[in-house]
Symmetry: C2
DNA sequence: GTTTTAAGTATCATAATATGATACGGCGTC
DNA sequence: GACGCCGTATCATATTATGATACTTAAAAC
């Protein structure tokens, strides 16, 4: 019996939103192989986001939940190590270019991206529409690669965005490749967040959408993240029949309809997703024709 | 000054300036506002790069220069905090999606990107060629945004790449906006790394190229990073007359010549760079500048 | 199939390290 | 002109990280 869907890699979901019970810290996770200072430093990094692009020491302390002294020391360390820039006038901190270099390293480490990108480029050029690569990450999806062809809102043009899987075409497409039981568990339990009046909050409706994807092999969603935006996604299926990623395309509802999409976008989209699929292999050491266990 | 990276064994490529004197470590920068554990954790993150995409505990220890126990604890912490994924079979670590989320946060914080991206999209569509946004970072440039329109080699399609400014058209374009004295100091002292047989190592030649950019308002370079690649870049000039960034375009030398570029690419490229310029507000970052204080 | 070697994991006593309260100085505000 | 806020610097304390060692598992060698 499977409690929560916990696919392949051991992906530790995301931040431990610890309530700051200020106790004497015989805290829960304090084994001797947990370095609190490092974790606190990471908290500082995570304090920056969409709405907090530039933080003073005080704000940093507030947002991270650390006291002034700790924040001072950690922020200073991050600055010395080149992870934070500091405006000498305002004394405020900002993410540094190093953050992009981490992304660079990430890209090399992701086995899927290298295979996908050339094909995504071709696809984007062929369609003339924005094409994305999304990967499942716990119960969210992350946009790993984006090839914008039209102007859109900013968040849709930059990589790293993390969205609830259930609210996105990519997430639903990927989910549609999961075994029925897991699929249902996900649909019942995974988080949903409202972004627009059009965001679907009814899980029954999401189920319909996913089951449709099971049947059709692709998912379509409308106005989930932003009004008048339609997303189409086709799963990139791995050797085990499960997808961890999807090729996604976002278009404007003003110029596109469902039919038109199915006719003009879908074929190429699916071809691309399929073309990427075979290369997604796990490494089994060598030659033996070991099929799956169990 | 560091010219060439050691080609032999892969040792720390980006070691923070720190002597390995393992002694009693009343070390240089150890004030009470420097948290060593955090810095060590960052070392672990930096151990991943282009050639090291997936590291075992041992490799991690070796590349970071930390002992086994420290590595164990820190890596474990990073794993618990969701910064590193761990393959349960091979027990090897990999960058997690969180690295992309940091990039996401970076993008919101960079005042230039938001202004530039829509215009870059338009430009890329108009030209049908790969367009990049590069920013100066110490004596290197970093590709902050990329809009590939043609298949190229992988490294040219992903963001966060850091290259010696002198070896790139973007770097030279930006440099061309610096006051003469600084310009010359940079040309004399900034690092150069050889990537192809075509990489210019002669600083006199680089000076010519930069001075040409001073005169023309744009820079062109050929075969610096990869053979048969031509780069054109136009600086994005701030209110103080200095550029911190450039719009760059990479094309194949097989289908493009210098004249053709000047005729068909340059006008739109410069228009775009100029259109972005006014919105750029300067700030200074801390850190790396090994250059002289004037 | 058995032994050897290596790599990852867990434990623990020690002191070195991070801690956070406190005090100082500069800057914009009231 | 005085106050209050925010960033910076200092310091004694004990909490925290340390790294040597021992255990466990997996792969390599025989």
């Amino acid at each position: 019996m499977i409690h929560n869907a916990k696919p392949g890699l051991s992906v530790n979901p995301f931040p431990p939103p610890r309530a700051q019970t200020q106790g004497t810290s015989m805290d829960s996770k304090q084994n001797t192989l947990y370095v609190a200072s490092l974790a606190k430093g990471l908290r500082l990094l995570r304090a920056f986001d969409e709405g907090n692009t530039e933080l003073s020491l005080g704000e940093l302390a507030q947002r991270s939940g650390l006291d002034k002294s700790a924040t001072q020391r950690l922020a200073n360390t991050l600055h010395m190590e080149g992870m934070l820039d500091k405006d000498p006038d305002t004394r405020r901190f900002r993410p540094s270019h190093a953050w992009l270099q981490l992304a660079y390293a990430y890209y090399w480490s992701d086995p899927l991206v290298g295979q996908a990108i050339p094909k995504l480029i071709d696809l984007a050029q062929e369609l003339g529409e924005t094409v994305n690569l999304a990967e499942m990450s716990g119960d969210h999806i992350v946009y790993v690669s984006r090839l914008p062809c039209k102007r859109t809102y900013f968040a849709a043009t930059i990589i790293g965005r993390r969205l609830p899987a259930l609210s996105t075409s990519a997430g639903r497409a990927i989910l549609s490749t999961y075994p029925e039981q897991e699929r249902n568990a996900a649909i019942d339990n995974w988080p949903i967040k409202v972004f627009t009046p059009g965001t679907t909050t009814d899980r029954a409706e999401i189920r319909r959408s996913v089951e449709e994807a099971v049947h059709d092999g692709f998912a379509i969603s409308t106005g989930q993240m932003i009004l008048n935006e339609i997303g189409v996604a086709s799963p990139i299926i791995g050797h085990d029949g499960r997808a961890h990623a999807a090729v996604q395309c976002s278009v404007s509802a003003h110029t596109w309809s469902r039919e038109k999409i199915e006719q003009h976008i879908l074929p190429a989209l699916q071809d691309t997703a399929n073309a990427i699929s075979p290369s997604f292999q796990p490494y089994r050491s060598g030659g033996l024709g070991a099929s799956d266990p169990a």
